[in-house]
């Protein structure tokens, strides 16, 4: 009985140590990232033949540290210059569900690596792969597709909650 309890506790301890708090301070440095096959923008395939699908998962999915790093890099590489804080501007908004080039992590990765017509530059080979994945993780968090417990409640800098901004302006005109 006692052994069982101890095993129970160990099990609990080991398996609750989740992805959320993982911090990889020395990520795998740099590979030139080409994952064109991984990102699938449409279920339709040329020739109708089902090609073997290469699965890629974001290593930083659900990791609070990497989402925060992604947020920093999003600013540093001036993503916000076009996409603002997810609301869009010159570039399309990122808080949305319908994506032209797909909204799965591998699609976002692919978009960042290759760039897209009409202004989205290609970042592949210029910044390390791990940083792209961090940015992808952050973008997904803006859509609420990361666990709440891994994302920041607010930035320390500016108010980002559009709902609040709306409430406030709405209230002011009242």
């Amino acid at each position: 009985m006692r052994t069982l309890c101890i095993f129970g506790v160990c099990f609990f301890v080991v398996f609750t140590s989740c992805q959320r708090e993982k911090r990889d301070l020395r990520p795998v440095p740099t590979r030139l990232a080409i994952y064109s096959d991984a990102a699938r923008q449409s279920p339709l395939r040329p020739g109708g033949a089902e090609q073997p699908q290469l699965r890629v998962t974001n290593p930083y999915n659900g990791s609070a540290y990497d989402i925060a790093e992604g947020e920093r890099l999003y600013e540093w590489y001036n993503c916000s210059g076009c996409h603002s804080h997810g609301g869009g501007g010159i570039g399309p908004p990122l808080i949305k569900t319908d994506w032209i080039y797909g909204g799965e992590p591998e699609n976002l990765f692919d978009t960042i690596v290759k760039g897209r017509p009409n202004g989205m530059p290609s970042w592949g080979g210029r910044i390390p792969e791990y940083q792209i994945w961090q940015i992808v993780a952050f973008i997904r968090s803006m859509n609420g597709q990361q666990p709440r417990s891994a994302t920041a409640s607010r930035a320390d800098t500016i108010e980002q909650n559009p709902q609040t901004i709306q409430n406030r302006t709405g209230g002011a005109t009242k």
Binding site: L25, P29, T30, W76, I127, P128, Y130
Partner: protein, 352 residues
């Protein structure tokens, strides 16, 4: 009896410690990051105050210890006095005398503290009067995780110099450090020149420093600021006014063009890489603002805020594996192929 010797041993040990302390304090002299090796009027006044406090407080400590240990010898005289008298109270006369002595000791404590208070406040006041707005120069220091952004203030914007992790100051001239922070709280501390001043986001804090004689002084971030708090150092280089002026003149110039074809190739590699998103080199297209300015990188003493001495080999290590040298740093591991590395290093190191 053996116990008593033991307690006496404590006293002896105290003396040994004091001697040891002096030896170690002595070893501080000539040190590049020491609070008791002043190189300017501010730290000089603080050091004088320190030695005053140190002497007085050590004396007090020794007196208290002597009396504490003497209580043990008195026990020796009285060991035969068991059992106790019923009241558990020594004769009234003794108590009266004790009361007088304790009261006197308390009054003495108050007086000594008054002396220390006055010494402390007057030192503080005289330090705060050292600044000189007319003759002084202003340097803005902005803390970042984990490096220092430095800007020499000038009313003429073209004369404003931006550099990083290294401050040159002229000797004998007061310098005002205007401290700010880009992210979390840091603290600017160059112990040989002055005490520390926190750099707080949303606030501006100021501190006057001054160097008496030429020298190279190390400073370090003193407020815990995250993963690489340990590797956030800076250098303050004090030099005579003329030398400082020529340094300033040189630094204000845009980056020198690369010396040879390898350097030229390195420049192209730099400008085509992601380096430019964070770093700027004046006179080129690189204009990133989030990392240290590299315009005259080659003339600096160290890499990565005092982490490594500035040599071409260290720079190569730093660029290829920053996370190995400074885990958690915000310096990205930019993909550079092995044949591109050497020209790149040559170019950056050539930015004297």
């Amino acid at each position: 009896m053996t116990k008593r010797n033991g307690e006496k041993g404590a006293g002896l040990k105290g003396a040994v410690f004091c001697a040891y302390a002096f030896v170690l304090f002595d070893a501080c002299a000539g040190h590049q990051q020491s609070a008791v090796d002043p190189a300017g009027p501010q730290s000089g006044k603080i050091a004088v105050l320190w030695w005053f406090f140190f002497g007085l407080l050590t004396t007090i400590f020794l007196i208290v210890m002597v009396f504490t240990l003497l209580t043990l010898t008195r026990r020796g005289h009285r060991s035969g006095q068991e059992p106790l008298n019923a009241s558990h109270l020594p004769p009234g006369a003794d108590e009266k005398e004790l009361t007088r002595i304790v009261a006197a000791a308390t009054i003495a404590t108050v007086l000594i503290l008054f002396v220390l208070l006055i010494a402390s406040v007057s030192t503080g006041k005289s330090i705060s009067e050292l600044g000189d707005k007319k003759n002084g120069m202003v340097i803005e220091v902005t803390g970042n995780q984990w490096w220092w952004h430095v800007r020499y203030w000038n009313d003429d914007p073209s004369q404003m110099l931006v550099t990083a992790n290294e401050i040159h100051i002229p000797t004998g001239r007061p310098v005002m450090i205007r401290g700010m922070s880009q992210d979390v709280i840091h603290s600017f501390w160059v112990p040989n020149l002055h005490g520390k001043r926190d750099l707080i986001p949303s606030r501006v804090t100021t501190e006057w420093i001054e160097a008496d004689q030429p020298g190279i002084y190390r400073g370090q971030c003193a407020e815990y600021c995250g993963l690489q708090h340990a590797h956030m150092a800076l250098w303050v280089i004090a030099e005579p006014q003329a030398k400082f002026d020529s340094w300033m003149k040189h630094q204000l110039r845009p980056a020198s063009p690369p010396g040879g074809p390898t350097g030229e190739r390195g420049k192209q590699i730099f400008l085509n890489s992601a380096c430019i998103y964070c770093h700027s080199i004046r006179g080129t297209a690189a204009g990133g603002q989030t990392g240290p300015d590299l315009t005259h990188f080659g003339s600096r003493r160290s890499i990565a805020a005092g982490t490594l001495p500035n040599t071409i080999g260290n720079l190569g290590g730093w660029i290829t594996d920053p996370q190995g040298i400074k885990p958690g740093t915000h310096m990205a591991t930019i993909p550079v192929s092995s044949e591109d590395l050497q020209p790149l290093l040559e170019y950056i190191e050539g930015l004297k």
